[in-house]
């Protein structure tokens, strides 16, 4: 769990770079790659590192360490993620490569599901690019922000933001519905007034209809 700066309810795009590494990669190649990345203005972006299957764990962590050290030397702000072998990768030239993944749907990292079993307390913010499943309560003033759908199997009293990158098919499913704010793909509503009896603390779902209006219906 992290506590981070305020939410941007609707972030238009998300992209990252994938760096594929083969077993015989050397430090010079990594340096070249990082310089190349810097030219691409990859500041603050995620760098997904994909290893060729033949690399063992020791070698992998060694390379990650090396990457981090080199990135720091180049005054580079990169966040690293280790991908699985499904990541989208293309090659440029003979060296392992950089590719901008634009399609969120086919993006394995973005679609990974986050499951949380502890209560989400006031002031805590949970973010995930894929779906978020919460098996406990979401307190008042807690924020749950998902690129996909949100499922809460408990009391939902905080702010629920689904489809943050604009996915209009995202939905919010709640076991005990009483959130402060709901949002799907940037369309939001603060639930200031007391909810009707058939919804208050009852199972409910939220979705966008074809006119981009938020709908809350009992389940």
């Amino acid at each position: 769990m992290t506590i981070s700066p305020p939410v941007k309810i609707n972030l238009a795009s998300f992209d990252y770079y994938v760096l594929k590494l083969s077993p015989d990669v050397n430090i010079g190649q990594i340096q070249d790659k990082l310089i190349h990345l810097r030219k691409l203005d990859a500041f603050g972006r995620y760098l997904v590192i994909e290893f060729d299957g033949k690399l063992n764990h020791e070698k992998q962590s060694e390379i990650v360490k090396l990457l981090k050290a080199e990135a720091i030397k180049l005054m580079f702000e990169l966040k690293f993620i280790l991908a699985n072998e499904f990541a989208l990768v293309k090659t440029i030239g003979d060296i392992p490569v950089v590719e901008l993944a634009l399609n969120l749907k086919s993006n394995p990292i973005a679609n990974s599901v986050l499951r949380i079993e502890d209560p989400i307390r006031s002031g805590i913010k949970i973010e995930n690019d894929g779906d978020i499943i919460i098996l406990n309560l979401v307190s008042h003033n807690a924020e749950v922000i998902s690129g996909g759908s949100i499922h809460v199997y408990g009391d939902a009293r905080g702010r629920l933001v689904a489809g943050r990158y604009g996915d209009k098919s995202a939905r919010i499913f709640v076991q005990k519905f009483n959130p402060e704010l709901i949002s799907i793909a940037g369309v939001y509503r603060a639930l200031d007034e007391k909810l009707p009896e058939h919804l208050l603390n009852k199972p409910a779902q939220v979705f966008l209809d074809d006119k981009d209006r938020l709908n809350v219906v009992a389940l």
Binding site: I3, D118, R121, G123, L137, S139, H140
Partner: protein
């Protein structure tokens, strides 16, 4: 190995210092060697409530900065052999609390004591953060009132995400709820949140419920921890709380409205 217990709440004025003083005294009375530390640098209160403000020569910040040894700064309680107080500084600010400094003091205390009670300041600034960072267990003090409960929820969030145990991925800080200033009559009249309401929001086990009482004010004005005012409801409630903390099974007392007899209803009185 000493257990570090933080007494915290988020909101101010809910009874953290009163609870710290009585909790530490109660543990000491049960025979555990206990030290209570005031983390409210700049606004010290604990020494007043413990009745030792005139004996504070060196304080917590002096020990951290190396101006005094722990031995010089620890004040022995006048009533209780097993109890020591480490007072806060009135003249320094919260920046004097460094992580390494606090860690070293706690490590040194851990060699000699069974329990280290950290009395947290209000808020979520550095002093409060330092008080809870090293905790093994936490007493979250809350009043039966919405803003207090909400702040306690916030503190519970910080405990589960930013404490040392959370950062290092160790077993969670054990959380206990202490409800103070509880007035069953006002709960019944609907002016106050009930124990049930509070638990519904916070979802952590209740360690003790301390009734609202004028004895608390008297205790702090005379520099006596409330647990030492024998025969009062507050003293009894804190004694029960200690017993539960040490694993004993005690039913909750003073949590239901008293049935008033005809005479009492006619003539009032408390």
């Amino acid at each position: 190995m000493a257990k570090i217990v933080v007494v915290t709440s988020g909101k101010g004025g809910v009874g953290k210092t009163t609870t710290s003083a009585s909790f530490a005294t109660g543990l000491a009375l049960r025979g555990y060697k206990t030290v209570v530390i005031d983390f409210d640098i700049g606004l010290r209160n604990l020494d007043l409530i413990m009745g030792c403000e005139r004996r504070v020569v060196y304080d917590f910040v002096n020990v951290i900065s190396g101006d005094a040894t722990l031995h010089q700064a620890l004040i022995k309680d006048k009533n209780c052999d097993n109890l020591y107080i480490l007072a806060a500084s009135q003249t320094k600010d919260k920046d004097a609390l460094t992580e390494e400094g606090v860690q070293k003091v706690l490590d040194d205390l851990a060699k000699d004591f069974d329990y280290i009670v950290c009395d947290s300041p209000a808020g979520i600034e550095k002093g409060a953060f330092m008080a809870l960072y090293f905790a093994d267990e936490a007493l979250v003090v809350t009043n039966p009132e919405v803003s207090s409960v909400r702040d306690s929820d916030r503190i519970l969030g910080i405990l589960s995400s930013k404490s040392k145990r959370a950062v290092e991925g160790k077993e969670k800080v054990k959380e206990h709820l202490v409800i103070t200033r509880y007035n069953p009559d006002r709960v019944e009249a609907g002016d106050m949140l009930s124990i049930q309401d509070i638990q519904d929001i916070l979802r952590i086990p209740v360690l003790g419920v301390v009734p609202e009482s004028k004895d608390v004010l008297q205790a702090s004005n005379t520099g006596t921890p409330a647990i030492n005012l024998k025969g009062t409801t507050v003293s009894e409630a804190y004694t029960d709380l200690i017993a539960r903390f040490l694993g004993e099974d005690k039913p909750m007392r003073y949590t239901t409205a008293e049935k008033k007899g005809l005479l009492k209803r006619l003539f009032g009185g408390n």
